[in-house]
Amino acid sequence: MKGKLFLLLLAMMVIASPAFAQEAVAGPRPAINITSGLAMAIASGLCALAQGKAVASSAEAIARNPGAGGAIRGALLLGLVLIESLALYTLVIIFAGV
């Protein structure tokens, strides 16, 4: 599973390499447009997986120990926001016009 993921990423980077050949060109830049979309999709997908894991384990922890619900909820919220910010860094790069 991990090997396949790595190969997929490598293939995408190869597809994206024509982008490096361009200088700052105004007008249609299809390679950059495609890779921006793909980058955001990958970032959002991985972010969703990580947040799902965080929510799953905190829901289980609250179920086991309802008294610690407040502390767990605090940790969950902080964790979710920090993971979210990683996907947003990708969004910022897209808008910074790379």
């Binding site: 902080l78 926001v81 920090l82 979210e84 910010s85 947003l88 860094y89 969004l91 910022v92 808008f95």
Partner: protein, 246 residues
Amino acid sequence: MEQHHELWITSVFNTYLAGVGNGILGLFGQHAHDPAKPWANFMTMQILTALLVIVIFALLRGRLSMDKPGKMQHIFETFYTFLHDQAEEAAGHGGTKYLAFFGTLFFFILFCNLIGIIPGLESPTMFPAVTLGCAIAAFLYYNIVGVQAVGLGHYLKHFVGPMPMLAPLMIPIEIVSHFARPLSLTIRLYANMLAGEKVTLVFLGLTYFVAPAVFMGLHVFVAFLQAYVFTVLTMMYVGGATAHEH
């Protein structure tokens, strides 16, 4: 980045206070793109937010009472206890000494985030310059407070790490991670606010009225959450900087 159209407040500032604006920019050796319009939207919105915060707290101060607390006092007491408990938990032992700064940061960022929902006004925190200012303020604050609390020599020992042998490895890592903190604070707040507005605009173009309202509701929740996270992270940095090792 596309040009934002000028708000009514900004146009008032530019009509009457253009000289003041150019003067202030000149103090720092900067020139406006368009000398007739030195005030940017985010500057006037920040000034409006700061005035709003001052006015609300001045009103609150007048209405505080031990015997018959009013609604406003209840609301702000809730905020205060919440921030106080977070400071005790996140900033460690002496954390509540710095509650004034944390509270100011929290309310300023919260009001800046929320003011964008009102039509005709926009969030200054949508612009990276504003969030960078808040992040640099937090960065300088936790460093200065750390040096004040434990002394310069002991504070610099934090950078060296647990063993003196690891120092050449630890020092660059620690320096990079310390500079990554204001950078991540900036981008997190800026990207969240920008994404909220862009999503609302996109859905406004696609479907009218219902979907944008849902996203604006999400944006309100995100505004509170981002203000809270900025403040809690600053508290954790202050806690890490002022940690006394017994």
